[in-house]
């Protein structure tokens, strides 16, 4: 039986279609993926992402433990800052992609992990902690809501007693949200949609109230509850990777375009560092490229990619881009195929659909005035 977030009853009451995702019963859509996608690009959307896992790593050895566990440089984080990183195995394969955040108190870090990989991640992290490090899986006690879109700041600002425009990307603040009494929310300027927005962490017991308060406050701004369907179309337009689909333990970070998260000279070698150094020097065996389909048909995960009739790679993610009005996809191809920038084709149910190689992301939000 699938797990339920504390917001499950609210999703059902809002008429959501529920689907199983990563062991969780989650809303796929409330109205339509198109409407929800457009709401986030033009106004704002509210997502329940309480299924995501969260662990706390703390103690005098916490920094060193995390530096060993993840590829990015956790040592450069100031209090209340966070970063995106991958966690690799000894062979440089990606175990998961994560957000690591430094709490306000020294030596305390919060790590956000994918729902489907939580148990695997927790076991791996526990097994590779250094001395003087405590580890706590707080997933069940933590609710997480994402408020995303150009109007997100206008919706949240009147509810908090701090200037949100001063909250920079990948930083967080502990704030009280009006209408959510006696609970502090950790408000982080992060997201998975390609838009400006916030992710709000709060005790599981208060996440329902926070959801209601935000939905009501956003009604006048056109805020919509959004499901996993729109979350996927939004993240793919924004060129954001999805673990389990775009990467897994057979993929190294350089191949999937996440080499920028690998800091080999941070003082502490992360697990897999030797292999990663080798891949960096010789170049990865394949490259992730963006594909823009010439028509509306959709390339899907696992479909074969061809160049001049010859097999050239495989699609990892594909969808219809509501923003661009065509199919988009990501695919792994050999480095020389990526370098050629030649048009490719995707075998969609037996017919060859033409695809242009385009740089990722497919969509970048317009700069704010």
């Amino acid at each position: 039986m699938a797990l339920r977030t504390p917001l499950y009853d609210r999703h059902v009451a809002l008429g959501a279609r529920m689907v199983e995702f990563g062991g969780w019963d989650m809303p796929l859509q409330y109205s339509s993926i198109r409407d929800e996608h457009t709401a986030v690009r033009e106004r704002a959307g509210l997502f329940d992402v309480s299924h995501m896992g969260r662990v706390t790593v703390a103690g005098e050895g916490a920094l060193e433990s995390l530096q060993r566990l993840v590829s990015n440089d956790v040592g450069r984080l100031q209090p209340r800052q966070s970063l995106y990183t991958v966690m690799c195995n000894d062979g440089g394969g990606i175990i998961d992609d994560l957000i690591v955040g430094a709490a306000a108190s020294a030596g305390v870090y919060h790590v956000v992990v994918n729902a489907a990989t939580r148990e695997k991640d927790v076991a791996w992290m526990r097994a590779h902690l250094g001395s003087g490090t405590s580890f706590d899986d707080v997933s069940a006690e933590t609710g997480l809501i994402a408020l995303q879109g150009p109007r997100a700041i206008d919706i949240l600002q009147p509810l908090v007693d701090a200037d949100l425009s001063a909250l920079r990307a990948f930083t967080m603040a502990e704030l009280r949200v009006s209408g959510v009494p006696s609970r502090v929310c950790e408000v982080s300027r992060t997201g998975y949609t390609g838009e400006d927005g916030f992710e709000l962490y709060v005790d599981a017991g208060a996440v329902g109230t926070l959801w209601d308060v935000l939905l009501e406050a956003g009604a006048a701004e056109g805020l919509r509850p959004c499901g996993l369907g729109a979350r996927d179309t939004l993240r793919l337009e924004a060129g954001l990777r999805l673990y389990g689909q775009d990467m897994d333990e057979s993929v190294d970070p350089y191949s999937c375009g996440l080499g920028w998260t690998v800091k080999l000279d941070k003082g502490v070698a992360c697990i897999g560092a030797e292999v990663l150094r080798g891949i960096k020097e010789t170049g990865p065996p394949r490259r992730m490229v963006g594909l823009r389909m010439s028509g509306r048909d959709v390339a899907r995960h696992g479909m074969s990619v061809f160049r001049e009739g010859e097999p050239a790679g495989e699609v990892t993610s594909g969808t219809y881009s509501f923003t661009l009005g065509c199919g988009i996809a990501t695919a792994y191809v050999a480095p020389e195929v990526a370098a050629s920038r030649q048009p490719l084709s995707v075998d969609i149910r037996g017919s060859m659909a033409r695809a242009e190689q385009v740089p990722l992301p497919f969509y970048k939000r317009p700069p704010t005035a």
Binding site: R17, S32, I33, R34, T233, R296, V298, R300, Y320, G327
Partner: protein, 123 residues
């Protein structure tokens, strides 16, 4: 709910009306979600009952389409090329898929409104 008294249905969620137009049901469009692409047959093609005639693709997935009855395709709904969302908005009207002539019901397994409602019950 439109008047569906002249419509007959398949267990695979297509319909055919009294004018031999073919489409998918409201239940089917709701299950599929946002329709973004349709692969429909050429005009002139002959179909037998139950034959796969195309593909309907939503953001989530692609699904095969099956002809409720046999016949010759005399029209396809070309408006769906640019506006496939009509299938979601009006599955029994503007969202029709194709029209048949020389209809042949050999081998067709058709349900009336009430029988089809039972198929979708409990889903």
């Amino acid at each position: 709910m439109p008047d569906l008294s002249g419509y007959r249905f398949t267990a695979s969620h297509e319909w055919v009306d009294g004018g031999s137009r073919v489409g998918i049901t409201d239940y089917a469009q709701a299950q599929l979600g946002d329709v973004i692409f349709l692969e429909l047959p050429e005009v002139g093609r002959s179909l037998s009952a139950g034959e796969r005639f195309g593909v309907i693709e939503s953001v989530k997935a692609a699904s095969d389409l099956y002809s409720p009855v046999g016949g010759r395709v005399v029209a396809v709904n070309t408006a769906l090329v640019d506006s496939p969302e009509k299938v979601n908005a009006d599955p029994y009207g503007d969202g029709w898929l194709l029209r048949l002539e020389d209809v042949d019901e050999t081998g067709a397994e058709l349900l009336d409104v009430d029988a089809y409602a039972k198929v979708t019950e409990g889903h």
